[in-house]
């Protein structure tokens, strides 16, 4: 099952770019039980990375306490309009998603 695309907005602000990402993911904690009383297995993004013009700039490790359909904001120094931003995630099932955006 392919995950839905992320929404990435990268805005140039002076000599940096503010990147805002919305990811489509359940971020299931593994604490909840379904109506039959069975625990719903944990399913959440564990690794987030981002690259600026191909160079890795961000590495993050997440746990299931990050909200469903996660939002992330970070700022890249020295980025300008036209630069390429890539955001990637890997979840605890090994599923991945990678999306690109251009700094505006």
């Amino acid at each position: 099952m392919a995950a839905d695309p992320m929404r990435i907005r990268a805005q140039a602000q002076g000599d940096k770019a503010v990147v805002r990402v919305l990811m489509s993911h359940e971020m299931e904690t593994g604490q909840r039980k379904d109506s039959a009383g069975k625990t719903i297995p944990a399913w959440f993004i564990q690794e987030v990375t981002a690259a600026h013009n191909g160079k890795t700039v961000l590495n993050a490790e997440w746990g299931p306490a990050v909200s469903k359909n996660p939002f992330l904001q970070f700022t890249i120094k020295g980025a300008k309009a036209g630069d390429k931003i890539t955001v990637n995630w890997v979840d605890n099932r090994g599923e991945k998603r990678s999306d690109e955006a251009t700094v505006t």
Binding site: D4, S24, S67, K68, F71
Partner: protein, 266 residues
């Protein structure tokens, strides 16, 4: 000075906030909501809806790009703030979601009855919600201006008013029980008075909305369905006359209010 601990149900406790936190709880909640505006997961559904609008699907392998939402085939911008309205081809007043299903059926060959019976959040209903989010987003910032030129539109408004005041169910609730007067509130939720224009981005002008409490995208059909659930009424059918009538009532009353849909809600 150590802040007093406040429990989840501790409304009374909120009156005992320490001296430095001068803002009221209503202000604090408003601040919280503002913090969530930028980066609304509804954007994910809007993107999905846009893709579905353009994608060739169904037995007829067609897109929805020539769907008439009331302003002419394919015109998306401005359509949301004029719905519900009367349509010549179906000879009835339709809201956004039922009109989308009409287009999915006539243009794409999908089964309208099946879609109406599908539970919210599943199968084609998920797609209807995403499409509704996309269409609503295209009218963001515009002001509601539902037409009342057609006799049917006026009739639905009147029926909607009756539906709004109709008391029933084991608690004898009506829509008006919660939304019939100014200044009503349930715990920390302000309840807008829907007999009139409750203001920009409030009430009818705030749905579809992403609900953070369950991470779901809700269109007006699901919002009304859940209102009826809370009133302990039987569930209305998807796109039923009652739901379209009460939407017409609210939409006409909201004339001039700015739409902020799709918004973010608790």
């Amino acid at each position: 000075m150590k802040a007093l601990w406040i429990g989840a149900a501790g409304l009374m406790g909120l009156a005992l906030l320490p001296v430095q936190a001068q803002k009221s709880s209503a202000d604090a909640i408003a601040e919280y909501r503002k913090m969530l505006e930028d980066g609304n997961p509804a954007d994910l559904f809007e993107a999905k809806g846009e893709a579905l609008w353009k994608q060739k699907r169904g037995p007829k392998n067609a897109s929805l790009e020539s769907c008439d939402l009331g302003k002419g085939p394919g015109v998306v911008k401005g359509a949301f703030v004029e719905l519900p309205r009367h349509f010549v081809d179906t000879k009835k007043v339709q809201d956004l979601e039922s009109r989308l299903v009409t287009c999915m059926s006539t243009l794409q060959g999908l089964n309208a009855d099946e879609i109406a019976k599908t539970p919210f959040g599943r199968g084609e209903q998920e797609n209807v919600t995403a499409l509704a989010t996309y269409v609503a987003a295209a009218s963001r910032g515009l002001r509601f201006n539902l037409p009342q030129a057609h006799a049917e539109e006026r009739r639905m408004y009147e029926i909607g008013k009756r539906v709004f005041y109709f008391r029933g169910g084991p608690y004898d609730f009506s829509c008006a029980s919660c939304h019939g007067e100014d200044g009503k509130r349930i715990r920390l939720q302000d309840l807008p008075n829907l007999n009139k224009n409750p203001g920009d981005g409030i009430g009818f002008a705030a749905w579809p909305a992403y609900r953070v409490s369950n991470g779901q995208m809700w269109g007006m059909q699901l919002r009304l369905n859940d209102c009826y659930r809370q009133q302990r009424f039987p569930y209305p059918g998807f796109g039923s006359e009652a739901t379209i009538a009460v939407s017409t009532y609210m939409g006409v009353n909201a004339k001039g209010a700015e739409s902020i849909a799709p918004s973010i809600k608790r």
